[in-house]
Symmetry: D2
Subunit: 285 residues, 4 copies
Amino acid sequence: MSTVTILVSCRDRTGIVAALSDLIYRNSGNILDADQHSEAESGLFLMRMQWSLDTHVLDRDGLRQALHDLGRSFAFTFKLFIHDRPTRIALWCSNTEHCVYDLLLRQRMGELQDGVIACILSNHDRWREVGEHFSLPVYHVPVDPADRQGAEQRQREIMAEEGIDLIVLARYMQILSPELVADWPERIINIHHSFLPAFVGARPYHQAKERGVKVIGATAHYVTQELDQGPIIEQDVTRVSHRDEVIDLVRKGRDLERQVLSRAVALHLQHRVLTVENRTVVFDG
Amino acid sequence: MSTVTILVSCRDRTGIVAALSDLIYRNSGNILDADQHSEAESGLFLMRMQWSLDTHVLDRDGLRQALHDLGRSFAFTFKLFIHDRPTRIALWCSNTEHCVYDLLLRQRMGELQDGVIACILSNHDRWREVGEHFSLPVYHVPVDPADRQGAEQRQREIMAEEGIDLIVLARYMQILSPELVADWPERIINIHHSFLPAFVGARPYHQAKERGVKVIGATAHYVTQELDQGPIIEQDVTRVSHRDEVIDLVRKGRDLERQVLSRAVALHLQHRVLTVENRTVVFDG
Amino acid sequence: MSTVTILVSCRDRTGIVAALSDLIYRNSGNILDADQHSEAESGLFLMRMQWSLDTHVLDRDGLRQALHDLGRSFAFTFKLFIHDRPTRIALWCSNTEHCVYDLLLRQRMGELQDGVIACILSNHDRWREVGEHFSLPVYHVPVDPADRQGAEQRQREIMAEEGIDLIVLARYMQILSPELVADWPERIINIHHSFLPAFVGARPYHQAKERGVKVIGATAHYVTQELDQGPIIEQDVTRVSHRDEVIDLVRKGRDLERQVLSRAVALHLQHRVLTVENRTVVFDG
Amino acid sequence: MSTVTILVSCRDRTGIVAALSDLIYRNSGNILDADQHSEAESGLFLMRMQWSLDTHVLDRDGLRQALHDLGRSFAFTFKLFIHDRPTRIALWCSNTEHCVYDLLLRQRMGELQDGVIACILSNHDRWREVGEHFSLPVYHVPVDPADRQGAEQRQREIMAEEGIDLIVLARYMQILSPELVADWPERIINIHHSFLPAFVGARPYHQAKERGVKVIGATAHYVTQELDQGPIIEQDVTRVSHRDEVIDLVRKGRDLERQVLSRAVALHLQHRVLTVENRTVVFDG
């Protein structure tokens, strides 16, 4: 069996669900999960549909062409995902371990359906042993402030050689160039250690302590040109008190960060994230 | 514009979404929200679909007949809701006020879409002023342990006179007869002051304190013959510590109870609750 | 029995707990609850202590003097609260009802220990019936943009006549003058409908929808000269999805706002809130 | 500097805080954190106090004797913890990895203050590589149903050789003998994969799915003779929907389990857990 997922957004219009489900039915597909909503306020039609069909029946080009025709007549845009191979992921990291381990362990426990972590890339030379433990290649790409382009060139080569589809910044502490971001739209996920848009920028836990907030958070988002401004995929929070010093906020934050980043990666891998303007629509049931 | 909602459950089978959305499309309907999921483990097909159409186009009998035919050919059972009048609700209560006020205030703020609280019924004579404040009739039906049947007879008459569709037990402390429960299947909602199935029975907050749990809860469920065993519609919890004495648990519990009961009533009014065997499937986006 | 509460903050120094608890013991007090913490990072000593004693034993002036002397020798500042009469509260409101009702109901259910809501003040003439239902005086003080001083003069008179200790802005939509704020330090509580410091300013739910956050919040804080910048007393959050339109965020927000505001008022009434610099320390067990 | 912690419980009585803090002050200690509460309903006095003092000043025997005398005159019982060496922990496990990794990673990140994981013990021969990665000895002790005593004998020897203070059952799937449990009172922590007391016994996630609960939980508790009935140290919950099949509940549950178990272990290591009758009082700020 093969599985196919489509994400659709457009101006609301009558008949799209009927036309799509009819197309799927005529192509011998069985809808596994459908999630559609029309926003009254924005007038947007938003949908995710997932179906299965016999692999030998699947006619990729025919399906794409039929959807293309349908999209033209109903004026919708779509993203189609045919699950014929797992999404290949690169974990980029610096010194911090918790998010990297969390994702590697989920892979080991079989939680990362539809995806495979293919390699680790770091600007620090300290990940070899972790790579060995999880049987993964580790690429050490130091970033010389005087030659950021050289580092980026090497990073791009590695991504190409490894056939990477998704970059996960698991507390990677270097800034990416606008060109790199532009070449990987909605394919770079970052974890920010605050409840965005509160506490943008550096040292958010110090900011949180100083402001005396009662709740801290973490935010996973797609990376865009503007720092900390990309579409938010997932967020979560936890309560804190005055007994939590900054070191405790950092510790509590680590738990949030790994949970939120892992959930965001899972949502992306299951094609549950649709970007509309600068926000996401997450079809998470 | 009229709005129509359908809830469907059956053995999973190819083509149901296509057939249904086609039927809606041919009847000039516009799907507003669709939520379908096939359970791999149970093999169940579960769906809620909601659509709008011009009121003058709506052919009630034709629609029912068409769905009946479709249901027969695909072997599905369905519940159809045509929103031509609000669901009429009776609040049954005893002495406790918080759940009653919560629902009445939501009605006043326009939150109870698709429903209207029509009356208050209590075994205690203390609700007149509340009824006046919210412009609602109040029925005082004392329950004499020696003549429970007489009280029930009166309750049934009031429900009939007021044209009630849904009974909400807002901390009503009398037990209903099996006959009454049988006559109102999935139309009586109760709020239980614990995280069921923990702490069934009386005085759950005392039980919780004694057991030293770190989290307490509340559960809204449809009433069935077995006490505290009906299908769960909604639940929520809150943290507690040893500084919370039983009186504090009761206070914290009140906040939970009114939130959980109000959410359960809203879910019911929006036809988001499908009962399968003795559990509910809640299509809450 | 009388109850006394003290809040202390100072540079950390050995012997304060011993000296204070000895003072209490020698004055025949029984400590009911003590909560002390020394912040390693800031070097601050923070404490709340609550004790009971026979009313006829309580020597107010002597106690104040003894604490004053102790404070001098240990270089600590303190706030002392002798619970001989309930804190008198004025609810200021505009059009929105949910926070007002929530507090009034809690009073009715006996939850507002140590406080009493004494009156309602609004710039809109729509609260008479609510006042009657809860047996409270209602003051209608319209605010003419051309004569804000006149309105403030009237507000000050009412606060004085009613002997008000605490002003609760229960969604009061007028801005207070810097003079009024200065005269009521840490005695005006406001509820802001966002998770501060995210979404300061107007229409936070619209901002939240546009930014696509997955969690919305509410914040109760003391009012200071800077809008939305006062010390935060309490915050809470709830999850949202794309199915929540702005109208749903408003509805979900209402539930948060009343919960958060009521908790903040209760914490204030129980003298659990200590302000240090521009943040609060909340001794909430 | 040395740190000392005391946990006290007794019938409430005037003067205990004064006497204890005076004793600490006279012995040159500086109180870092004090948390005391008298339960009105039960009449219990409950306290945790933590202080620091110059190591060369600390007179262990003198301190114990002084506290013993004080305890006798005030009729209180206490537990004293002098942090002169880390609590030594053994992780017992079977096949499941998530809880084990979680604790090992926290140790690596320096989160396990006051404790050190000394070894891994399992009835399965599959932990060598994990032990090597984290530089820990691994003991494989198979449990032959026909000779449980032999296995227990070996387990006891290892605990003795390793100087273990605390056994953490990180999803260890064998039942302990009553003798072993009796010899390790409040020194064995187990993680149960449900919100106890709901769903005791086997396969709680299947039970949860069948009952249709909207929230699942996990519970860490001290092990006592009665299965799943020991004093609860920590609990937490997460929301689930019909889209979560049992396999998803297991996955969501894993996240809960490791969080809850790790928090429980940290609370124990910081001497924040006092057992009173069959419940715990957790002084967690």
